[in-house]
């Protein structure tokens, strides 16, 4: 890793990619073994003080490690092409590649660590390396701001996690993860889980802890946003999963809270995604939505644990795990295409684009596939995991009491609503960026991106299709992960019912049938219309003879009616000057409008303002005089001395 800055400049990216693959290969072996039921232990005895640091690869970590490796390889390959535009910034670039390796490594260690202290160290390493990766474009003020915001929020998360680990340490005398399990079996589960959930939830982006996501993702280079959204956010999910598998009681209460929070997260995320015009911000909000969907699965599984319904547990947790994989696939695909668009047009503003399908047809198809998959449309992978969640909810409706009946029906309606809005969001985004006519002149003619950038995207689509068409394999893998952690469920009386296996393989079969039917219709059409006269002309302008590109429907107007309906949640800020009645010849004027995040403007900003206001009173302490600071030091030393002398401490 350290060698990267020393190799000649043109080879750095390649070397980095090679090491990424190497790292991936080394860690994939134990991961695959673990999925087969063979765990790997690794104990480092550091010294007497810190005790033994144990690492462990089990099925859960294996699943996440495979996702990390997959996404990182794709990200690095795409990045070698994407970062060509910054070739001039040599030092910056080599730092970037070193950090990328550190980033991948730390994420892998996070999945393996089994000790609270080690976990926090690698977790921190991951946060900091990703923070520095976000800061690549550090000359821009907005990037710096987003980066600092990210760093601060990650540390708030660490605070919660540290508090939780310390609590366990004082109660059980150990930082090992097994101590947490022990803690859960002898104490009330709710509050400790709450701490962990908040800490991991900040990483995962559960509403209202999401506000770093829509800022950091647009600021980072595209392959980094792809990897961040695809994996780093998922490590929050990994943490939650880890803790969920340790839980011993209070399942129902926690499950209900998680489901409610997740449905709200999903709806909030996708509604915000639908109105934003920055393509990467839109994708970032969409990540929040998908975290909501994953959360619904986790909540369902918990409810299943609480009500003793093994099938519900399997459906919920497998749905969540599979959606984690699916989301990391299509979200990195979408971020990569967004990056390709940015590379060619130098803008992230969708309203300035248009008609790119003629210039970048392959990228357009990539985005289209990603958009379909993320909307959960068959025959792609998003449908499989959403189907599992729907099945889980339907099973939940039947099998748990009245209070949860209502919860389940709301989750069902919520999931359907999320699906609907995500269709609106992605038709809007795809339509605005790739279809129609170009909306504004671009600095240069956009071209299709280089093959090295396209290659990982083909690869992702291939995997996505494999999930969509052969879902049973992936289901059985995730199913084995879940049943390994729930010994009660893995017992002799529980087996995945044949009907479920049937429906899951049916999805793949009938998706294939759908594709076949589609091909049949399309070729019939080709055959029949092949010799017919075909002419081209301008789009029908309803009688108007001088249409211009500016008259096209914009993305903003596409989602305007939704924004208006949901204006209690989507806060639109408009800036314009009203035309007064006595203005006979109104001069040229400007109109601008953007959407604000509800939680940031209504909740967090106010809170921070008040905090800053009260903190102002303590400003005299930090007065910038070194003499004073030395005095503080002496003061505290004296205080400690007196304290020990008088046996107060």
């Amino acid at each position: 890793m350290i060698t990267i800055p020393f190799v000649p400049h043109p080879f750095r990216a390649r070397l980095s990619f090679f090491i990424v693959c190497l790292e991936a290969a080394v860690t994939t072996v134990p991961a695959v073994k673990a999925l087969g039921g063979q765990d790997t232990h690794l104990v480092l005895s550091v010294n007497q003080l810190a005790g033994n640091w144990s690492f462990h690869v089990d099925r859960l970590s294996a699943w996440f490690m495979l996702i990390i490796n997959l996404t990182c390889i794709n990200g690095a390959l795409y990045g070698t092409g994407y970062m060509k535009q910054y070739e001039a910034q040599r030092a910056n670039l080599s730092l970037h590649w070193v950090l990328f390796l550190l980033f991948q490594g730390s994420m892998l260690w996070v999945c393996m660590a089994q000790n609270g202290l080690v976990f926090l160290i690698v977790w921190e390493l991951m946060s900091i390396s990703s923070f520095l990766l976000v800061l690549f474009d550090h000359q821009q003020k907005s990037t710096l701001q987003a980066g600092i915001n990210y760093l601060v929020q990650m540390h708030m998360g660490v605070l919660f996690l540290a508090a939780a680990f310390i609590w366990v340490y004082f109660s059980e005398g150990s930082l090992e993860f097994s101590a947490i399990e022990h803690f859960f079996s002898s104490h009330s589960n709710f509050w400790l889980f709450f701490l962990f959930f908040t800490g991991f939830g900040i990483k995962a982006g559960f509403v209202p802890l999401h506000s770093w996501l829509p800022q950091a993702h647009p600021a980072a280079p595209s392959h980094i946003s792809g990897v961040m959204s695809g994996v780093i956010v998922k490590l929050g999910i990994y943490g939650i999963f880890r803790m969920v598998f340790f839980l011993k009681q209070d399942y129902i209460l926690i499950g209900e809270i998680v489901v409610i929070l997740s449905v709200l997260t999903g709806i909030y995320g996708i509604l915000n995604a639908s109105v934003h015009r920055d393509i990467k911000k839109m994708l970032a909000y969409c990540t929040i939505e998908n975290i909501g969907i994953i959360g619904i699965g986790i909540g369902l599984g918990l409810l299943g644990l609480g009500s003793g319904n093994g099938l519900l547990v399997v459906l919920g947790f497998t749905g969540a795990l599979l959606h984690t994989l699916n989301h990391s696939l299509f979200k990195s695909l979408l971020f990569f295409t967004a990056g390709s668009v940015y590379l060619q047009t130098h803008t992230r503003d969708m309203e300035k684009l248009g008609g790119l399908i003629h210039r970048m047809p392959v990228s357009a198809v990539f985005f289209l596939v990603g958009a379909m998959a993320i909307g959960g449309l068959p025959p792609f992978n998003g449908f499989v995991s959403e189907f599992l969640l729907y099945s889980g909810i339907l099973l939940g409706i039947k099998s748990i009491g009245i209070a949860n009946n209502t919860l389940m029906i709301s989750a069902l309606a919520g999931l359907a609503f999320i699906g609907g809005v995500s269709m609106l969001t992605f038709t809007k985004s795809f339509g605005t960026v790739f279809l129609g006519n170009p909306r504004s002149p671009l600095p240069r003619e956009p071209r299709e991106v280089s093959p090295v950038m396209r290659l990982p995207q083909y690869f992702i689509i291939l995997i996505m299709l494999s999930v969509g068409l052969f879902p049973l394999f992936y289901f059985s893998v995730t199913g084995s992960i879940v049943s390994a952690y729930l010994p009660v469920m893995a017992g002799e009386d529980f087996r995945i019912p044949a009907a479920l296996g049937n429906s899951i393989s049916a999805i793949g079969r009938f998706s294939l049938l759908f594709l076949a039917l589609l091909a049949l219709i399309y070729f019939t059409r080709k055959k029949l219309t092949g010799r017919r006269p075909v002419s081209t002309g301008p789009t029908w302008g309803c009688g108007y003879t001088a249409p211009s590109a500016n008259m096209q429907y914009t993305g903003k107007s596409f989602s305007k009616s939704l924004g208006k309906l949901m204006n209690f949640m989507l806060l639109e800020k408009k800036k314009y000057k009203e035309i007064r009645t006595n203005e006979i010849f109104p001069p040229e004027r400007k109109y601008s409008s953007h959407y604000n995040d509800f939680f940031v403007t209504r909740v967090l900003d106010g809170l921070v303002d008040r905090l800053l206001y009260s903190m102002n009173y303590f400003q005299f302490i930090q007065n910038g005089k070194i003499q004073m600071y030395i005095l503080y030091g002496i003061f505290f030393i004296v205080l400690v001395f007196l304290g020990t002398a008088l046996k107060l401490i």
């Binding site: 029906i409 339509g431 279809l435 309803c542």
Partner: protein, 301 residues
């Protein structure tokens, strides 16, 4: 299989009946029952005009739309007889298949770069989004009532035990009929006969389609009518034998078509900017069904 054939058959005269009813209601004789089909066949024989702005998506979308609806029809059962596709949770597959078709039709509309078509596309996306929860709450309630999650099992076991289920059936009919109107952009939500592009939904989306593709789209619309009609018919069939279900099926389809015709003749359309709220209100009717189911199961005692 039998339901598939029946639905295809029904689709041939469904819009003919609607048009005939509307003509009769306005005191005209009206065209023959099979006139819409003849129109479609004529379109199938024609060449096409494409917009310069449009891409391959515009040309592929009608086929995808048509395929998605054919697939969706395969899911629908006829009373006890399952559709070609039937598995637990198949109605989710059904809804998402329709979603694929809609997704591409919206994209095709945006592909032309016309502001009118964009407007229609935006409305289509918005309205169908609000109709989605209603359908899922409805099916979720039935899943709770019957304990099954596939169309065929739900419909076959809907009416065991209590006659209250027929009342729920009537409510469900209302919801499904309204969803049909939203999905096909018909009267209370959209007026297919309007002459102003600004106020259209579905019609404006297909302004630029012509020839074979337009034929596919028009026939797909008829298929969609017949498909939802079949869903409604299934609500009342239970597990009757075949010689009863086929007449019931055809009767209900006929009744449904006539009702649509009458509805279109005698009602005014809703205000466009309030449509979303009206459609969302469907979800509350679905919730009513859910409450009814809870009552039937004695969950409140």
């Amino acid at each position: 299989m039998i339901s598939f054939i029946l639905i295809i058959l029904t689709s041939l005269f469904f819009s003919g009946i609607i048009i005939r009813t509307k003509s009769r209601a306005s005191g005209r004789k009206g065209p023959g029952l099979f006139q819409p089909v003849k129109d479609i066949i004529r379109l199938f024989k024609k060449g096409a005009v494409y917009s310069k702005t449009s891409s391959f998506i515009f040309q592929a979308a009608p086929s995808i739309y048509y395929a998605s609806i054919l697939m969706a029809i395969m899911v629908i059962p006829l009373g006890e007889y399952r559709g070609i596709i039937s598995f637990e949770g198949d109605f989710v597959f059904f809804a998402y298949l329709l979603g694929v078709g809609k997704f591409f039709m919206i994209l095709a509309a945006l592909d032309t770069g016309s502001s009118f078509e964009g407007m229609g596309a935006s409305r289509e996306a918005l309205f169908s989004m609000f109709a989605e929860p209603a359908f899922f709450i409805l099916m979720g309630s039935f899943a709770l009532l019957t304990g099954h999650t596939s169309f065929q099992e739900i419909f076959a076991s809907l009416h065991f035990g209590s006659y209250i289920s027929y009342i729920l059936g009537v409510l469900a009919t209302l919801v499904l009929a309204m969803i049909t109107m939203v999905e096909n952009s018909r009267m209370p939500f959209d007026d297919p006969k309007t002459h102003l592009e600004l106020t259209m939904v579905h019609e404006v989306m297909i302004l630029d389609n012509s020839g074979f593709d337009l034929g596919l789209i028009l026939h797909a619309t008829n298929l969609k009518f017949a498909m939802y009609g079949a869903l409604i018919a299934n609500l009342f069939m239970g597990s009757f034998p075949l010689y009863l279900t086929i007449p019931i099926f055809l009767g209900i389809q006929l009744l449904f078509a006539v009702t649509i015709g009458l509805l279109e003749s005698f009602t005014a359309r809703f205000r466009m900017n309030h449509n979303a709220q009206y459609i969302l209100a469907l979800s509350s009717v679905s919730l009513l069904i859910f409450l009814g189911v809870l009552l039937m199961l004695g969950q409140f005692s």
